[in-house]
Symmetry: D2
């Protein structure tokens, strides 16, 4: 069974059913049959509520092997591609696995490639923690070395790419994608936008790159205004579609 | 079976299996057993490819009863709340139904309220067209008049609100939501942000309002730059969570 | 004569000609006839270059009595109103005096009101430091209590307002301004935009409120991208013009 | 004497004193001694008000030889560099001359280079129209071919560059600028940012590139929100300073 979030005030811990939580608030044994919403107590009588991990919780609690994709960007990928139930998704590189987990929770079957074996192992653990290990196949390796076999298999509905050589996959996107399918490339830097677009060439349509600036609004007694803190850049998202 | 998108160059038509398409390219009978990717021909020999409707296609082809939520905003709701498989969502007002359809395609069971009976009828047709009529229950009525019965039922994982009186629902959100569940309010205007936040009061946590500015990047021979066309405001998204 | 900026590496000090600078690098007497570009030495032989204070230096070295207007916003006021040589400007409230100094350096004669006597004194010192005390008349008082006398005087070309009750001045703007003159209101909060616009009523034209988001671009070996640090909100600028 | 703006409702015409205005509202002779604020009448009795041309009016009424710099960007250049009274400015390329006129009106002496002889002629006429022909020296030619002589002359306080080969001037900026002086490069495209920054090298400090997104706010009965129309990109502004 997927992990649960144990919450006490501002404190949050992730444990699988059957596991033990040890903190200065005491020891808590998570029942095998824990349900979301259950109130549990440590041996010192301190209460914890068991919650289901939602998307943003995965972002917070997944073990990180780099800067994970932010919930807003995972959402934008789903919004602009419609990725969801019944879709077969090819993802690279896995990284922390936030996007793969979001897609799987939305019903997609995800095959994801991560070149770093240690990172891939962490991602596999994260998929178990997120309860989506049955729908995410984390493969250790460089996706560009496996394109021939992937092309040979059933086609994909969506490709989600976040690697240094995404362009090499984009070039093969027309072979990898089903008709009407989308490829998405996430890239922090402007320079890679051009490479992606050139790789999309004339074989893909609706090629569009978006930059998304998201700001918090501050609402106080004094008034309402955009945050003075500012919100920084994450990455550009380029989308293209197979006709 | 859900509708298919019939594509010929730039032209796109939506039809259900068994229906007929009449255009100047000829008449095309959509087979009952049409599969995505099938190439079909009109009686004049003009080819159409049958595609599965993806999220952005729903946005384009749903019959509109107002300005529908844009794919990016539907995605942001999913990203920031993690709404997806296994979730029970309470949505109001339905409008064109884009958000409800996105959520259902991501695996959620959606109950959505629309005050205008004619709009509700259109939304029901749109849910059939999107292949999600089994997971979206479009109810004609004002959600604020049904809160007592809704509170009495099993709790919801996510509330998605886009009505003039969203604040009235937000006030009841602690009763409607499961622990860790999210409420989202979409509002075009600044003034309603404050009402939402005040309604969230002290009973909900992580109250945050985001403004999202999305721009296209232009990539040409001359260079790369943000679009000179500009991208306009859609709406503010406020999120809050039940502890 | 106006003050000079004494620069040694990252260190900057402001002194008037004839004054003394004491630091751990030694004592330096600033000659009465110091010229911009002069290299001066402390008694320990440490070199300092004498620079003219430019606009951004005023922002850095003015004594602050609150958050001063940022150089970019002072520039936007000048850009959108064309305030400069030969203009008579009515400014309120003075605050640190950055905007008044910018306008005076661009050739305007500025009358500025500051309600706090201590702040007004600091502003006067800042105008001397900026070499514009002959073109900026810092008056202690509430501009709204002096409108009748101000209306009676020659009209103003530009009004620049940054106070809690700017709307009260905007209402009188048609009387205060010359034909074609501009009024500008700086306000951090959304709520005051509406008040300003309502005060502008039908008597002023070209009523426009701008929000300006400014971001730094990061250019590194890895690539070019908007800063991940983000740049926060400063204020909204509303402009209106007398027909 | 500088030109005046003749305003009748929404109609605006620019004429020099002594010139004639012919419209369907009748013929109007502009007196040699016209003053700002004067009400004039055509021979048909239609009234026109004579206004001083302000910065934004120059932007509207200058004859265009390309997309002129927008008032906001001219303002940002002045804000970030403090360019104004007493400054010597080297500008290239002149284009329509909006920036040169803004700087001159703020009290700067401007030397500006325009490679296209016809454009330079238009710019000269625009400077007369703006009443700044005595402070703006429009030279026909490529500034990069004149750097040696410019370096030999007195140094400049500010360099403002908006040409395809701005980087070649930036490389010589340390020789051209006085200590504490600024160089500014306006460039629509990302690619030129890097060239500018590399040219600034280690000899200039405070190298910063800004992108400025400006949006209008819509205030109506329904509420307040950023404009749905969007405001497009103009250009990146890179600033650097001589130590």
């Amino acid at each position: 069974m997927e992990a649960v979030l144990l919450v006490h005030g501002d404190r949050e811990y992730v444990r699988h059913p059957g596991e033990e939580l040890q903190t200065d608030l005491g020891v808590l044994d998570v029942p095998e049959d824990v349900s979301h919403g259950d109130e549990l107590e440590t041996h010192l009588g301190e209460p914890f509520v068991a919650r289901r991990l939602r998307g943003p919780d995965l972002f917070e609690h997944f073990e990180r092997t780099g800067a994970p994709m932010m919930p807003r960007d995972a959402g934008l990928v789903m919004g602009h591609t419609g990725a969801g139930g019944g879709d077969r998704v090819l993802d690279a590189g896995t990284g922390t696995g936030v996007l793969a987990a979001y897609l799987a929770r939305a019903g997609a079957e995800v095959t994801t490639y991560e070149t770093d074996p240690a990172f891939a192992d962490v991602a596999r653990e994260n998929m178990i923690l997120g309860g989506v290990d049955d729908r995410v196949d984390v493969r250790t390796g460089d996706v560009t070395e496996h394109l021939d076999e992937l092309v040979g298999a059933d086609s994909f509905d969506v490709l989600t790419l976040d690697t240094g050589d995404s362009a090499a996959v984009v070039e093969r996107a027309p072979e990898l994608l089903t008709t009407g399918g989308f490829v998405t490339v996430y890239s922090p830097f402007v320079e890679s936008i051009r490479k992606t677009i050139e790789a999309a060439g004339g074989d893909l349509t609706d090629v569009r790159t978006f930059e998304t600036i998201q700001r918090r609004m501050d609402v106080s007694e004094r008034g309402t205004r955009p945050s003075t803190a500012g919100v920084g850049h994450t990455g550009y998202l380029t989308f293209a579609r197979k006709e």
